[in-house]
Symmetry: C2
Subunit: 443 residues, 2 copies
């Protein structure tokens, strides 16, 4: 088999066989396929696409580039959740302890933030001492002990993906539903889980800007998961504005704790309860979605979820007292208020721009090697669609009213963040029609 | 400027600016652009195309990756010819001395054979002693003395093309009219010529199989040439069967000498006279095409073309006595006749398969580093469309009649060539409609 023949076949719109896909992935993994051939094939895949069957083959080959973790000795139906990435998208820290508290083991492998979106590992590491680099043995011990482990990708998991992703990033071949699907699902399938709930984001702050693209991605992911024996379903949820009101690592930890204590913003609660409920049904810890939602809300009300969060933190080396004392979390020394430019309805708070402003403050990274400041970030004071209630005008603002509170450390970084934060805001005389948060589902 | 942004732009169907194209070509030339980014961009160009203006920019950037030869101190209008490659396509050895004999200086830079097509340099080197590696100074001296030099590409000519071509060959990015156009025209423009006649081949033995594709390529080439100040026109000529009757280096030299002596096959004469006449008009050595054809035929009849050929050979270190004594050329020791499988009209003699059979015998190369045997090759005894005359049945053959005479040295190579040669032949009861040799023109 010659690499150039595989490239020619895909270039001319052909469908690659299992052997051809395996040849490509094996060559990437062991370095025998030159990068220039891999990138030519990647570009041909971006522009010619892949059938569902081909994408499943690619995923399978990527799973087999490493090892598929065996969690058979952990009792229960193991369920994970994956989000395609958003701004203020912190549900993992809420749903993992809630699902565990309801009896569903959650072996969660997450990533770090890149570009304008945040990453679960960065948020967890805002908790002093928290270790995300557990070995597989430690992860299994955590699962057995507290029913949940929240860790980073181990080197055994789909090593082909790591190499391919690095190449895609510099060759303009990221935006491809087959390549994205294989990248996400190969890692999730290799984790050894029984079921997976996906949160596919849609909107200006999401990777997929349109609902149609988000649905295509969701369908691709669900189809691959189910074909490989992982029961998979997806929620499509809006990502036009940040989710919740906190953007930035320590700020988001606090907001998650507020939700687990029965407070927190309504949109974050809605998405978290929806995702956790689906995990309970998939994990056979609830009879149906109605039953599941009651159990999840019960675990919030009883404090069982909060207690589980404390146990996870303690088990992974973090300071469990952060749960009760937010002053133990890193905090930025300075504040800056970004205000409404006019009087009217706040019609837009662009998630991508808020995310980029937060990265500019130091909360995220433009490049993989950048360091993250856990303390800095942005608190959203007013959101589009805020309903308002007695004494609170909701999303109707006066010129000069504060919209965003920037938590910063470094003046130069604030100067870079401000234009982005300012541009994220739009005010208009007409109140826009309310848009649903949960846009659709695929299963 | 970032390479990945240029890749993304082309991937999404954008048009690259001059600066972007220059950044790409300069990076390829000096090695600062990694091959994996170059190959991703090449694949995006193959699948998204380039506008005529973009292709001209790419050509210009490739010309400027090296030096543009200055031939201003050579008197006269310097004209070259380029063929897109075929089987038995030996017209350069006929038209260069004929045009020079008619007063047009011909600074011809040619290539070697690759794949099923032959190359002018390999044919010239079949003449004992012939040197194709003249320096630019030696080339200018040859032009001044005998009005013609036939040499290989010097290192100064479009070095970006050499690197890009090597990469395209292994990344499935050869088949692209913009990339092919820029590759051909950058080298021709850099030669320092005033005018160029292109022979764009079309048919089963050509790079472009359909007349529509060949016309698109011809239009692209002509447009680039004229835009860069090189007066350029193109003939589109058929390449379904080999041109002439000789395929293989020494065999083709002999056939060229036969044409220059007033003999030779009619199709080869027709294409050679057509191309040379156009060179004379472009080179202002004839008033119009009718005048030019008379002059060219006159140079054959008078022996002036043959004499000029002898001078070129002598000036470039070759044995000029080959002109009169073909035994001084290498000859293969063995012959094998491939015969008609049935009685009927010879409807097909597939040029690509005959070319590949000739390569299998050793006359060409599959890889750049392969050595070439100047002696071996194939003589075509019967061609489709042969008119026949008293005592000659033309293309009507009896089962067992010889069609091809294979000149070989090595039995193992013959065994590889035979299936290709046999498959090149088709015989049928119905005589096919005659097809024109000169299919079209673009100027």
């Amino acid at each position: 088999m010659r690499a150039v023949d595989i490239i020619l076949k895909k270039r001319d719109g052909g469908t690659l066989t299992l052997d051809e896909v395996r040849f490509f992935v094996a060559g990437v993994t062991d370095g025998t396929l030159p990068d220039y051939q891999a990138s030519a094939l990647l570009m041909a895949i971006v522009l010619r696409g892949m059938t569902a069957e081909e994408t499943a083959r690619l995923t399978d080959a990527m799973v087999h580039s490493g090892e598929r973790v065996d969690l058979a000795d952990i009792p229960g139906v193991k369920i994970d959740k994956h989000s395609t990435g958003g701004v203020g998208d912190k549900t993992s820290l809420i749903l993992a302890p809630l699902a565990a508290a309801c009896g569903v083991p959650v072996p969660m492998m997450s990533g770090r933030g890149l570009g304008h979106t945040g990453g679960t590992l960065d948020k967890l590491e805002a908790i002093p001492g928290f270790r995300v680099d557990l070995s597989l043995t430690e992860m299994k011990a955590a699962l057995a002990r507290v029913g949940c482990a929240m860790i980073g990708q181990t080197a055994q998991i789909a090593p082909a993906d790591k190499k391919l992703y690095a190449l895609r990033d510099v060759t303009g071949t990221v935006e491809s539903i087959p390549l994205i699907s294989a990248s996400i699902m190969s890692k999730k399938i290799a984790e050894g889980i029984d079921g997976l709930v996906l949160d596919v984001k849609t909107g200006s702050g999401a990777f997929m800007k349109t609902e149609a693209d988000s649905r295509r991605l969701a369908e691709s992911l669900v189809s691959i998961g189910n074909a490989s024996g992982v029961r998979t379903e997806a929620v499509i949820s809006a990502m036009d504005s940040p989710l919740g009101r906190a953007v930035g690592n320590a700020l988001e930890v606090i907001e998650c704790l507020e939700v687990l204590k029965g407070g927190g913003p309504s949109d974050l609660i809605e998405v978290s309860v929806e995702l956790t409920s689906r995990m309970l049904v998939l994990g056979r810890a609830a009879a149906d979605r109605v039953d599941a939602q009651q159990r999840v809300r019960g675990a919030i009300a009883s404090g069982a979820g909060l207690e589980r969060f404390r146990q996870i933190v303690q088990h992974q080396g973090g300071d469990p007292h952060v749960v009760d004392d937010y002053r133990r979390l890193p905090a930025a020394p300075e504040r800056y208020l970004v205000t409404a430019p006019a009087t009217g309805y706040l019609t837009r708070l662009d998630a991508e721009l808020v995310g980029r402003a937060s990265v500019a403050l130091g909360a995220g990274r433009d490049r993989v090697e950048d360091a993250v400041d856990p303390a800095v970030g942005i608190v959203v004071i007013v959101k589009p669609g805020d309903p308002g209630d007695p004494g609170d005008p909701g999303d109707y603002v006066q010129a000069g009213d504060p919209i965003l509170e920037l938590h910063y450390r470094d003046r130069a970084r604030l100067d870079r963040a401000l234009p982005l934060a300012t541009r994220s805001i739009a005010v208009s005389d007409a109140r826009p029609a309310p848009r649903p948060l949960l846009v659709g589902e695929v299963h």
